[in-house]
Symmetry: C2
Subunit: 682 residues, 2 copies
């Protein structure tokens, strides 16, 4: 059996971390004691005196980044933060997993200072860390000058067997290896146990060989309870900055408890008796709970002073840098704050000339993106190998690679999930604005990372092209149907489906202005007419989410036809077709539910008057959900099933997305209202 | 430059396949010529005389399975099927990618005989193939007898760089290696090109070393244009049945065309000039198009006779087997047809005693599953390492492993996506009924494979537990919010969220009876009261999707409170609370939108009378979408954002899922209707 190795004080620190986890899970009567018990020494070795961080200023730009990919080991992180002097009082640890505490079951970014990323869904921490490391490499290339390495930090990860098993991790690790992100260092807690039992039940691969194949430096196995050994491995990892490093640490889950080396220690408190037995085994006082020995507190809090010194050294360097390179310094600080430079919007003028010919919104998006890049050189991103189709390529930049860090086009490969996570990690790091492109149907591959971006409220821009059956011949697997609705269902994602090129430009503007969550731009493959904005209201109305595009005549409308994206032209034509019948129809362009729902009740009433129930919603996607605006008495021209392979125009006809069918629906809802009113009057 | 190697006739066959792809993409004016040009020799080597199949009977149970994971190379498959004598006339190839054809842009199962699986989204074919191979291994262990290997076939895959890059493939390959699925053989088309250019832009890993680390036999690289070499590699792969095999085939995309070795040949027709140049380079007649030389047709159609011989040999063996083991034979044939054995439902009686104490629906699900297994020994599945929480373990069976093929519990590891795909593959193979468990929030990881199951219409049962903020302390990353709505948005998925143990049993029944698509069982972590069915209508009403559970008194209700799952008890209590105020409230349990929507208009009207607009919907999930039943005048007691970490009861209170809040909502909608009616009368 491996025993803890380190100085007496170090081992006391480690045991403090362990016992805090035992006490917190006991008190909460829920949680995961096994992982902190097993990882405490690894975590301690990293946090205390190795990692560059400043507990007094968790926002110091040049701090090392840390991702606890094994988020269930949250108590490990909370203990480390508390003991290192972050603003996380012991009372918060006592309040572990309680409503309103800053110590939730899984780490939540911004709830506690020092939590860089929300984790829990496995694989995400590691994959986001790849993005953090990528951001560091890119920013270093951009801002560092000879003698002034103002961006120079590592990204550390602690991950578990479960993280390694997720395909997402392999995708991200493959990309990290390919891009030679050598300042990424991952401590892998190889304890041989997962929830169903020994990992050998499900997991037989040679992890070391796999990571070597992915281009990583693999170190170990080392004894994860041997603090000097872990530090030595960390130093070795740091020495070779040409490859990301995986340090395999052999540990035992639930260490020192009667449940050690058993999955029983994973997801529930040890139980009172076992908690006592664990304390006894370590010679730890049985009470009170939540003991932090004075010498431990004193020792670990040195991180504060150490951090201040490190930061102060950096600040001095930066103040000289500021004098020598004032523009760069200003740009750096502003970018790290997530600000957009003054006047950035000016480049959007004229991107789409007023008299433009029909154009796919994906093409308009490419124009907007490239125009924006002139003012926003910190836009960085790419596609999961669909760049030419997604129009995500920055013409003015090269390809970011192991040898070229001064480029902003990322080739993510066919790794949609890692793309989303890496972009999340870039956003978390700060200094850059990431975007990620693929076919809309493959948004499904990215969904867990989209959700995490939404939970954390970070600015990631998804460029989803090929947004409906308009995909055409590629058929049902490539035609999104439910994707609009299922993204709208996700909180804090702003979904925008512009109707034409001008709305697309505004959609980019909205995406950049949304700094508190991700935005999904949903764009057509096929050409769409550019609405003549001399005739129709300005595309700037996009920012209100929905607006009246056209109405036959003044006054309350008899019917409202609501559409998004490529169906707006159909709605318009249908509305016009009703004029001769005396129906005062209104056509509404509704590019974004989220933006519309954020408007005042008055504005919403002005677009969709409550009294007008003769409503038709038109969208080349699933019907389900459109009742939100169409109501029980409206109609929805939408889909009920999957698409088909054929030319787009044939599909639009087949599925009823033609002005005639929409006008018929409008006629029916108008007639229904007449009957109703007649009925109630009789 | 590699040249084609084989007999003159073989090369002519290969060139026929190539030219059909060139002609079909030209004629369709869309599609992917590059991959078929590069893979034609590999495909030919496998299909003609190597693979065991019977074109005259594509349903022969003991055929080898084939998955074209690189689905964009669909013309390769269509040509192979046509030339091998499957029921796919040349006219269908002429009609490539046209609406109504059997030759869509990406292969769609059941559109063309011989297409085992719909592919296109990368990684899915390979991952599903792991499921097919797993099914073969399990069924062989179950049904084969000494001298009677009635289940004895291989599963072949053709995959591309893009497939390999998907994390899903690694997950599935890791599982296949661990489970030693040695009859799985994958031909990897290593052509060094992807859509954005050379694979080296994004992909630097050592694929051979990675697959070796995953426990695979890796063969090659071999020259993918050398037919004897590919066959030799295939034979070698087949010889070692202890490990799955990856055969790395070096090829050139767009082979023989002016665009060869360029991504330009990937996703668009070659263009008329290039098509002519390609034909000239091969000495191929420039016209007519779609030429199949007589000797090619004659040679490749021998597959029909060869297949009949193989099948006839098997049938003879099977008829002896049938005599010796009549029960096994009957069970085998019935299972392969997807039938449920007579009387299977009887085991469901009494699973939940009438007077049961409160019970989590996940616990009831575990009971139902285990009871069903007694009659349905072909139920097979497990969890992505959450078995003890998902209650997916079959107590009467062991763990399926490399050494125990006679067990039905699969340990998928923390590989949710592969789990979903593998279950899809098991269903496609036939003979088994797969189920897959995880926390509902992680359904996101599985989504692309759920979609494929829905598109293909195969019976996979997802056991999604921990279905809401009821998860409690694990916090927002682990609490599903939008998941119900986003799965309801997906066509052909039946989503069922039962209200109590009895409804859970019915939900399992419904899932098994649904043989034309996947079913998602959405289950609570926390205990729910078991409704006294002597007082309330039978839980068998679940099959109607929604039913009136309780109403204060006869007649038209004043208000309808609709709820699902854990919120049904809240709705009931709220409805009862309104009695004293004279409000005739109705409480509706609505476990499944899809089942309800399939009912007659009369039934639907009986549960939700159109005239009653005072409606409240209650669900501990996102509000968005419930307007479908609540209408514009109703209220939705739901969520607008993510959850929080804390005890479940505190969360239900915080987010307003308490009878008082629901009753208040009901009061408001009743008042609104009164005002409206008053208003229209005045």
């Amino acid at each position: 059996m491996m025993k803890d190795i380190g100085t007496e004080l170090e081992i006391k620190c480690v045991n403090t971390i362990r016992m805090l986890a035992v006490d917190a899970t006991q008190k909460a009567n829920s949680g995961h004691p096994g992982a902190p018990l097993g990882m405490a020494a690894m975590g301690y070795a990293l946090f205390d005196g190795f990692m560059k961080h400043s507990p007094a200023n968790p926002e110091w730009p040049d701090r090392d980044r840390f991702a606890l990919s094994a988020g269930h080991a949250s108590m490990l992180l909370y203990s480390l933060l508390h003991l290192s002097g972050y603003d996380l009082p012991l009372d918060e640890l006592r309040n572990f997993r309680q409503l309103g505490s800053r110590t939730p079951g899984h780490p939540e970014r911004d709830l506690a200072a020092g939590v860089e990323i929300s984790t829990g869904p496995l694989g995400q921490g590691l994959a986001h860390a790849v993005g953090m490391a990528l951001a560091e490499a890119r920013l270093a290339a951009r801002f560092n000058k000879p003698g002034f390495n103002i961006v120079d930090h590592n990204t550390y990860v602690v991950c578990s067997d479960g993280d390694i098993q997720e395909g997402l991790s392999t995708e991200a690790a493959s990309l990290a290896g390919h891009l030679a992100l050598g300042k990424l260092i991952c401590l892998y807690d190889d304890n041989g146990i997962q929830i169903e039992g020994r990992t050998s039940l499900a997991f037989g691969e040679n992890v070391a060989a796999k990571f070597k194949a992915l281009g990583w430096q693999v170190i170990g196995p080392v004894d994860g309870f041997d603090i000097p050994a872990v530090r030595k491995a960390l130093r070795r990892a740091r020495r070779d900055a040409s490859k990301p490093s995986l340090i395999i640490c052999k540990t035992i889950i639930g260490r020192h408890s009667p449940l050690e080396d058993s999955e029983k220690s994973h997801g529930s408190p040890l139980g009172a008796d076992n908690a006592v037995a664990t304390k006894k085994a370590l010679g730890w006082p049985l009470e009170p709970e939540f003991i932090v020995p004075l010498e431990v507190a004193a020792h670990m809090r040195k991180a504060v002073a150490r951090g201040k010194r490190a930061e102060s050294k950096w600040s001095k360097l930066f103040s000289v840098y500021e004098k020598l390179y004032p523009a760069d310094a200003k740009e750096f600080l502003s970018a790290m704050k997530g600000e957009l430079p003054q006047g950035w919007e000016s480049v959007l003028e004229g991107v789409i000339p007023a008299d433009s010919k029909p154009m796919a919104t994906r093409a308009a998006s490419g124009k907007a993106l490239n125009a924006l890049f002139a003012k926003l050189p910190n836009l960085i991103g790419g596609s999961a190998d669909l760049g030419p189709s997604n129009n995500t390529r920055l013409a003015a930049s090269g390809s970011f690679s192991a040898t070229d860090r001064a480029a902003n086009n990322i080739h993510f490969g066919v790794r949609e999930h890692a793309m989303a996570a890496v972009c999340g990690g870039i956003a978390l790091h700060g200094g850059l604005i990431p975007y990620a492109g693929t076919f809309f149907t493959f948004a499904d591959y990215m969904r867990p990372s989209i959700r995490l971006a939404a939970i954390m409220g970070v600015r990631v821009i998804y460029v989803f092209t090929h947004d409906s059956i308009g995909v055409g011949e590629d058929g049902p697997t490539h035609q999104p149907v439910e994707h609009l609705m299922s993204l709208r269902a996700m909180p804090n994602v702003t979904v925008i489906r512009p109707a034409d090129a001008a709305e697309t430009v505004e959609a980019w503007r909205a995406a950049l202005l949304n700094s508190s969550g991700p935005t999904a731009l949903v764009l057509s493959r096929q050409n769409l007419p550019c609405l003549d904005r001399a005739e129709y209201p300005s595309a700037a109305n996009l920012h209100k989410g929905a607006y009246t595009l056209w109405q036959a005549r003044e006054g309350a409308p008899d019917a409202i036809i609501i559409a998004t994206g490529s169906e707006v032209e159909i709605a318009l034509e249908a509305a016009r077709a009703l004029v001769d019948e005396g129906v005062n129809a209104r056509a509404v362009s509704m590019p974004s539910w989220e933006l519309f729902d954020a408007q005042t009740p008055e504005y919403k009433e002005s677009v969709l008057p409550d009294a007008v129930r003769a409503r038709v919603a038109v969208e080349a996607g699933i019907r389900t959900g459109w009742e939100r605006y169409a109501g029980l008495d409206g109609e929805i021209v939408g889909m009920d099933g999957f698409g088909a392979s054929g030319p787009a125009s044939a599909l639009f006809k087949k599925f009823g997305f033609v002005p005639g069918a929409v006008a018929d629906a409008a006629r029916r809802v108008v007639a229904k209202q007449k009957t109703k009113n007649g009925g109630s009057a009789s």
